[in-house]
Symmetry: C2
Subunit: 522 residues, 2 copies
């Protein structure tokens, strides 16, 4: 752990403590802040294959290079670091990016939440699940598909807050297109801060919007923004910096990355890949490109501020070679994810991928097959930060209300899947086997009685009743059960306590910024 250490993760100045725990327990929100994986990751390649990909990524960086566009400062930074800069093309001596990362990037870090008990560790054996990011549309069973609004945005923040399977409030849970482009980030960040006490993501659509995010975080965290022991800013926002694949970082993303890095806030450097269109059609070729892009971006952040937290991100899908349409939940992107996870661990940085991805327009069987395929692969790939865990529909174009609660329910199974095998005497259960013996049943056994409360994960949405009971209850499709659930969660939602002075200061900041500029649609 770096100076972003979690030494203070278990205490904090507001919203924590017994009272907050009681409040959460009462509202059913008691859950671990994040998942600690105690089972091995799944490794699809051995040393030979992995080092081949690493060598090829170094060749890509050295021979082909990466474009750092619309950002002269970035080019100066690379020149000073010893890279070969030709126009906007940057070529890297073999091993330079890796060395820059390994010299200063933290292997894991804590993203602090305003309630310290919600702070998450990102990296190592941890898994943090965050909701869908980016859709301009929303969908529900009642009103179908429509453009997202700030009301939808606030609803999804509330749903993430109410979902024990989600550890994070996410970022652009949907795009509130009813607000001006140059001001909506203020309402989005404000919603995360007011409506949830889970950690959240900042704006990356312009450097000044990143500045706004950091300014608001300083208000929210107050004196806590800087660690008194080290004098270093705590990491309280995590931010999605997409590569413009193939092999390009653009000025918007570089500008946001510099703002966040200089404030010691976390950058997820994420190649966004539809394989076959934005990367080669092969798994090994795609993994090579992802590694090269991610290394170039993470190394850049380390040059901007050594020690600033970075995450090796990847979003890999594939395109249908017949229609050009992106497809999700298919095997090749799972293989890419397994490999990328291993490459991130070899590099020694946290890994972001996964989620409940699907190309389906509704939460039907297709959506669930594809989402489960991605979620299972992400869990075993050792993902540390899982964006799009809940709500993703239609290749990311729509956030679904029913899909959100269905996915979030599935995510509650991950602690059991990843929690390891209890090999204690109680776990071995020889006493139960001896007590019950051949031909009897275990339901009444002492061991069963002592362990049944924690024995098995249980979905809150799945219907496991008999056919007759299910039919008598109305033969509900799971989408109908999900519809009832999200409405109940919103109806029962109560915001976490927030110091009124801070709340007021945040509102004032937002109003001031909005008043300072005319609306704009870019």
């Amino acid at each position: 752990m770096s100076d972003n250490d979690g030494g203070t993760a278990r205490r904090g100045r507001r919203g924590s403590g017994r009272e907050a725990r009681r409040a959460r327990a009462a509202s059913g929100q008691a859950a671990a802040a994040f998942i600690e994986r105690k089972v091995p990751t799944y490794e699809v390649l051995g040393e030979e294959g992995l080092s081949l990909i690493e060598r090829n990524a170094d060749s890509l960086l050295q021979e082909i290079g990466i474009d750092f566009r619309e950002d002269p400062e970035a080019l100066e930074i690379w020149k000073a670091a010893g890279a070969d800069v030709d126009g906007e093309r940057v070529r890297f001596p073999r091993g330079l990016c890796r060395k820059l990362i390994q010299d200063s990037a933290p292997r894991e870090f804590v993203q602090h939440a305003r309630d310290a008990e919600r702070s998450v560790r990102i990296g190592g054996d941890s898994l943090v699940c965050a909701p869908v990011y980016g859709p301009p549309f929303v969908r529900d069973l009642d009103k179908g598909r429509r453009y997202a609004t700030i009301e939808d945005f606030r609803n999804f923040v509330k749903l993430a807050y109410a979902s024990p399977g989600l550890h994070h409030s996410g970022g652009t849970v949907c795009e509130p297109v009813d607000l001006p482009v140059n001001k909506r980030h203020l309402d989005m960040v404000l919603a995360h801060m007011q409506l949830s006490d889970k950690p959240f993501m900042g704006s990356v659509t312009a450097p000044e919007r990143a500045e706004d995010t950091v300014a608001m975080a300083r208000i929210l965290f107050g004196d806590d923004f800087v660690d008194p022991a080290t004098g270093v800013e705590k990491t309280v926002v995590i931010n999605l910096i997409n590569a413009n694949s193939p092999m390009v970082f653009d000025g918007t993303m570089l500008g946001a990355a510099k703002v966040y890095a200089r404030a010691n806030q976390a950058c997820i450097i994420s190649p966004f890949i539809l394989a076959g269109a934005m990367s080669p059609v092969t798994v090994a070729g795609t993994a090579t490109q992802i590694l090269a892009e991610a290394m170039a971006g993470m190394a850049f952040v380390q040059l901007v501020r050594p020690g600033a937290p970075v995450v090796f991100g990847t979003f890999a899908s594939s395109v249908s070679m017949q229609s050009g349409a992106p497809t999700f939940g298919s095997p090749e992107p799972s293989l890419v994810m397994y490999i990328a996870g291993t490459l991130a661990r070899r590099l020694g940085v946290p890994f972001r991928s996964g989620g409940g991805l699907t190309g389906s327009k509704t939460p039907d069987a297709q959506a669930a097959y594809e989402s489960a395929n991605t979620l299972q692969a992400a869990a075993l790939a050792g993902v540390n930060f899982m964006l799009h865990t809940a709500g993703w529909l239609e290749g990311g174009l729509a956030a679904g209300y029913e899909k959100f609660v269905l996915d979030a329910d599935q995510a509650t199974a991950l602690p059991s899947l990843l929690g390891g095998i209890d090999l204690s005497e109680n776990g071995q259960a020889m006493s139960a086997l001896r007590e019950v013996g051949p031909g009897n049943h275990f339901l009444g056994a002492t061991h069963t009685q002592e362990n049944f409360m924690s024995a098995f994960w249980r979905s809150e949405l799945a219907d496991n009743d008999s056919f007759e009971a299910w039919e008598a209850a109305g033969s509900q499709d799971s989408i109908v059960t999900a519809n009832t659930r999200w409405k109940r969660l919103l109806a029962e939602y109560e915001p976490p306590a927030l110091d009124p002075a801070i709340d007021e200061a945040l509102r004032e900041f937002v109003q001031g910024r909005k008043a300072s500029m005319p609306d704009a649609s870019y």
Copy 2:
């Protein structure tokens, strides 16, 4: 490989050869006979945990023992082998079962199909996918849920034949309850033999029904039933021998197992576990019991006929500790499956588990999440024979037509998931990366053009169109797409060629057996 070697798997006396290949290619049925896994299995426990479970299983076998019920001959066999027999309880010296298995059970074997190109290898790195087994009900979108009939049975055999994701015709794809219990096995086995050329499963509901199965197999395979090189019967039927968990084998199952073993036909020894009711509530305890039961059953088969093929089977689910209802697709049974797979490999026998399991009554999102969770785990657990790959609904009580084709479509992704990473120069795709470079796209690249046909798995049912195209086409839920598909597959079905003399002999055998006894409902 044992004397059940696949040396003859690539030739056969009928239905094979160029003509059959052409016919299959024309009907879209060209597919590999089974999957060869080229990626590692997922290992959840290390040596310490595994040997602990193995020691505990030996303790269970030694101290608690297993009941072999309603079969005095089985008790005599065990006595002669050195076990301690007390009434129907058999206790085993430590290591006896393991030694019996390892001395003679084949590590892998070929199940021959009547078309040799359909023969499958079971064990090692192979994966054979078979349809759902056992449901007394069927369900489709048009007519809802109803008791299964022999017409449904024949339909599912046809659908499995038409599904490239399925390598096997299965056994009791549904229970034809419109036929007398004591005769329905004849029509079931006949359907597998006439309507499909994929390998199939035999009847296990009574020893004489197992005898009928073997007799029909002798007719179907004729001179091919015995390997001319060795004089040994070929394995042409595989059969599901469930333990009556906990720790009981009953007379019906033992009787069927003896018939099949003596004819060198394969027995899957499968503890059928709803954890918490039929095994302890812990993963380690359940895995211990499964190993003990499977070892006792497989060792028994080796005593009946050394070298007869056996498969370490397990079906593990868990029960809701709140309602007692079985649940599916949950994390603990996945962990049990990962461990059981490793235990089977350490023992050196093929492994059966997995499938597309769900408690849902319809192919909704719940069904697909749960089925995908099980299917993914089974793929990485190294399952060799996957029963219930397609069609399972409602905890196994119903076979669903739409569910069948949706699951079978998902199964077609497994060869890509398990086929390994191409690390050849073409797989590395450095030429594509060099040709395209930063900011361009790969769709037109030479490498893409050369590889796009085989590049990515593609679902035949998933809708990856744009929202607008999907809406214009009627906003179909995947259940509707699936409904169209199974009807088309049945409409286009054409039976594989079968020698008319054999067809006639099979019909005569069935008629003769039916005439030889009155109908009975047991």
